[in-house]
Every structure is written in C-alpha cells, then in structure tokens.
C-alpha cells in the first residue's frame, strides 16, 4: 500500500473512531446522531429490506434518466436546429428551469398515483430542462464550418445531424446530463420521502417516524451511493466522449 493511501485509510479510520466515541460517551444525543456501529446494526437487522429499496430507487432513477434523455435531447436538438423553435422554446425552457417544481408534486400524485410512476414523472420533469437547454446551446454555438464540410462530402440531413452535429454537441449534452442526473436523483429520493410506498426515501421517512436513527443514517448513506455511482459513470463517459474538446482547448 502506498504512503498516500495509508494516510487516507488512517484518516477515515480516525474519523470513524472519533464518530463512534462521540456516541459512546454520549456527547451528542442518540436522536441526533447514529454511530457507525448503529449503522452496521441497521444493515444486519434490515439489510434485505434496504437492498430491495435500493433496487427500486435505482430502477426509478434509470427510468427517469432514460425518459429525460429522450425528451431533453429531442427538444434540445429541435430547438437548436430550428431558429423558430429555438426562439419559442428557449425562454420557456430557461424560466421553467428555475420554478420550484416540488410544489407540483401533489399534482403528480393525483395524476400518477402513489407508486413509482409519480416518482419517475417528477424526476423527469426535474432533470429534463438542463439536458434540453445544454443540448440546444451546444447545437446553436457549434462551428458551422463543420456543417459546410459535411454538406460538401454529400451528407444527408440525417447524417449531418447524427454524424456531425450530435458528436460536436456531445460535450455540452454531457454537461447538461451532469446537472440533470443530479436533479433526477434528488427528485426521486425527495418524492419518495414525501409520499410513497417504497424506495430509499420512503425508508428514511418511515424510520425517522419511529426514531430508528441508525436506519435513517443507513438510508442517507445509500442515497449518497447513488450520487457516487452517477459521478463515476459520468466521469467515464466524459473521458470517452469529451476528452477531445479539453485537449483541443489546451492546444489552441
């Protein structure tokens, strides 16, 4: 093990020890803070339940992500390519982006029920705007000379969109995806916390109501895991698809 990773593990171990000690010596009350051992106890006691909830939340996030990508990129490409659609939808997209969508959640419950569909619908609406906006801006600001080149080699309209326009706009689309995916994860978990019958957010709220603080902390840790996994996936995607832009920028 290298020196740096030794120090890193040491630091984590020290934090855990101090954290545990704070609870053992009762420096902070049991309702405010769960110790690492409380969280381990929660895993032992309710592991399978949390696993199923994690699965459900993950599926809701993935479903919302897929829909937000389809709608976001679709609207973004249309608004980016067509000057008219852009002029109409640009201001609408930008202003809707800033609306506190959570106030609409009760409506989503009425429309889609208490199960997964209302969570997915709410998360799609949360995440779709940054994806659409970034796609639109990416396409509007790309270098037109590439399109002239594309026409000169006989690209059809579809080929221009998919072979030239889309790859050029991909770095912006991925930047939008970064914001959109964060909002989708927040959207799903928050919606589950407000009113639902399953998922990590539901477990957090349920165990808070019966003062099982170890379980609440386990739920929080698992929702952090979503953010962590999303970040890993996005970094891999960025390495694969947007590296050329960063390298190009560093040269010119």
């Amino acid at each position: 093990m290298s020196r740096a990773s030794l120090i890193r593990f040491g630091a984590i171990a020290a934090v855990l020890v101090v954290w545990e000690a704070v609870r053992r010596f009762n420096l902070v009350g049991p309702l405010l803070l769960a110790s690492p051992s409380d969280i381990v106890a929660a895993v032992v006691q309710s592991g399978p339940q949390f696993f199923r909830a994690f699965e459900l939340t993950a599926l809701e996030i993935l479903a919302a992500l897929a829909l937000a990508l389809v709608f976001g990129i679709g609207v973004g490409v249309a608004a980016g390519v067509s000057r008219f659609l852009g002029a109409v939808s640009g201001p609408i997209l930008s202003s809707l982006f800033a609306v506190p969508l959570i106030t609409w959640y009760p409506l989503f419950m009425v429309w889609f029920g208490i199960g997964s569909p209302s969570k997915i619908a709410y998360a799609v609406v949360s995440g779709v705007f940054p994806i659409a906006l970034n796609t639109m801006n990416g396409i509007r600001h790309l270098d037109r000379r590439y399109l002239v080149y594309g026409r000169s080699i006989g690209c059809s309209r579809l080929q221009l969109v998919f072979r030239i326009l889309f790859p050029l706009a991909l770095p912006s689309i991925i930047a939008g995806l970064r914001i959109g995916l964060a909002l989708i994860i927040i959207g799903v978990v928050v919606a589950e916390m407000l009113a639902s019958v399953g998922g990590i957010g539901f477990l957090i709220t349920s165990y808070r109501n019966i003062f099982e603080i170890g379980h609440v902390y386990l739920g929080i840790l698992l929702s952090l895991l979503f953010a962590l996994l999303a970040n890993l996936a996005l970094s891999a995607i960025e390495r694969r698809f947007t590296l050329w832009r960063d390298l190009q920028a560093s040269v010119t």
Binding site: R145, V148, Y149, S152, I153, G154, C155, W244, Q248
Partner: protein, 268 residues
C-alpha cells in the same frame, strides 16, 4: 496544354446577388471561365471580392443567381462528392475522430466498404508521409500537418476536381511555399484538376498553369494569365524576371495601385 485537353469545369455567365436586409448586393458578375482536365488553376483577387462565394457555387454548396456551372458537361446544383472535393482554409478535421477516421469519413458517407476505406486511407496518408499519424487526433498535429490531412481527405474521395479555399492562408510565407511544393508533388502524382484560391500572388504564380484575376466587388474576372513557367517548379523561379513581371501585372489589376487599377477597370 494542348487544345485537345478536355474541359473538366466550366462556368457560364455566373452571377450572384445577395439580398441582406432587402438591399441587393451584386457579389459576382459575368463569371465565365473553363479549366482543362488535370490543370492547376488559381484564383486571386482583393479580399471581399467574392472568391469564396465563387468556390462555394462551384462546389454546389450555394446556388448562383443566374448562369451555370458545368462539371464534365453536367450542371452542378448540389455537392457532388464523387467528382468535387473541397479543402477549406481551416482544416475542419472532425476533432473527435482520429486522422485515419477523418480520411475515411467521406468514403463512409459515400458507402465504401470498411476494408476498402481503410486501404485507400492508408495509401493516401503514405503519399503525404503521414502513415505513422493515422491513430493521432487532429489536435496532436501541427497546423501544416492538419492541412495535409485535410488535402488527403479530399483526395481519398477520388474526385476529378479539388477546390481549395486559401488552404495555406494560416501559414507563414515559408511554410506556405513548402506546402505548395508538397501540393504540386501530390498533384503530379494524382493528376487531379485543382482550383486554388489564394490572396498570395507569389503562391498563385508559383503553383499554377493558369491564374484567374478577379476585380473588387462585384467580382469579375479581369484577366486570365497563363504562367508558362516550366515544371517542376523551383524556388528560384520566384526571383526570375518573368515571374516578377507577371506578378506586377496582377498587382496592378487587383488594385495594388488604386488609381491605375481604377483606370484599368473602367477601360474594361
């Protein structure tokens, strides 16, 4: 060139009117010329005279207001990638593709099978000494190398004609002449017809069989100069008396000396 050499590209009374803000601007007027198969033709003229507009009309990228462009006797109304390749001033290599993928891309659009594509692209890259750079990305190359790839990419289309819009405009004078020699070497090996836009009179005379001289807007062709210099061209030709005389003649025509040029144009 003998009189029997077939004409590969011909324009008849091309005229282009732009109407930005409903005010008609005459950009090109009465452009008629013919280029022989396998010849190297340059177009020079003051900046803003419509050189690039003319090139885009020849490429089928924009339409003319009247008149026509014929390639092999057939009118050009849209891009014809199998007959005409365009090399732009900025190399416009697709930045997310490697060098060889860039060379293959037009072939892919033409529907050439992948094995043949790779083979043709490899052969073309070897021709310009870039075979070892196929796996690199454009940002890893120098400006001159990028432009060489861009020429190769055009050649790989296997067109009859290559239209070049100030391809070496971003390079310094020395690299520019070097790239010019390189281009002549490639041209002599492939036998394509090249239509070359530049604002460098030296470059135009050094490279070409024929130099078309364009006037200030509205762009008209005011002179056609057959350089008559022997090939292969060498750098010391640039210093010869003939070369200097031809250069001065064009310089006056395009308004290097404003009063002379004005007088020349009213006389036309």
């Amino acid at each position: 060139m003998s009189a029997l050499t077939p004409t590969v590209i011909e324009t008849r009374k091309l005229r282009k009117v732009y109407t930005p803000n409903d005010i008609a601007v005459l950009a090109l007027d009465d452009i008629s010329f013919a280029a022989e198969e396998g010849s190297f033709v340059s177009l020079v003229g003051p900046s803003g005279c419509g050189k690039s507009t003319l090139l885009q009309i020849l490429a089928g990228l924009i339409s003319s207001s009247s008149g026509e462009v014929l390639v092999d006797g057939a009118p050009v109304r849209s891009p014809m990638p199998g007959k005409i390749a365009v090399v732009f001033q900025d190399a416009t290599l697709l930045p997310w593709k490697t060098v060889i993928e860039n060379v293959e891309f037009p072939l892919e659009i033409q529907g050439v099978r992948s094995a043949e594509r790779r083979q043709r692209a490899d052969a073309m890259l070897s021709l310009v000494g870039l075979a070892d750079f196929g796996g690199r990305h454009p940002h890893e190359l120098s400006g001159g190398m990028r432009q060489r790839v861009s020429i190769v990419r055009g050649l790989a289309q296997n067109p009859r004609i290559i239209l070049m819009d100030e391809p070496f405009g971003a390079l310094d004078e020395q690299s520019r002449l070097k790239m010019g020699k390189e281009l002549l070497r490639i041209w002599s090996k492939t036998g394509k017809t090249i239509f070359f836009i530049t604002h460098s009179l030296t470059e135009a005379l050094f490279l070409s069989d024929v130099v078309l001289v364009m006037s200030q807007r509205p762009g008209r062709i005011v002179d056609v100069i057959r350089t008559g210099l022997p090939r292969p061209r060498t750098y010391d030709m640039v210093g010869s008396a003939e070369f200097g005389a031809a250069r001065n003649r064009i310089w006056k025509l395009i308004g290097g000396d404003q009063t002379d040029a004005d007088a020349g144009l009213t006389g036309l």
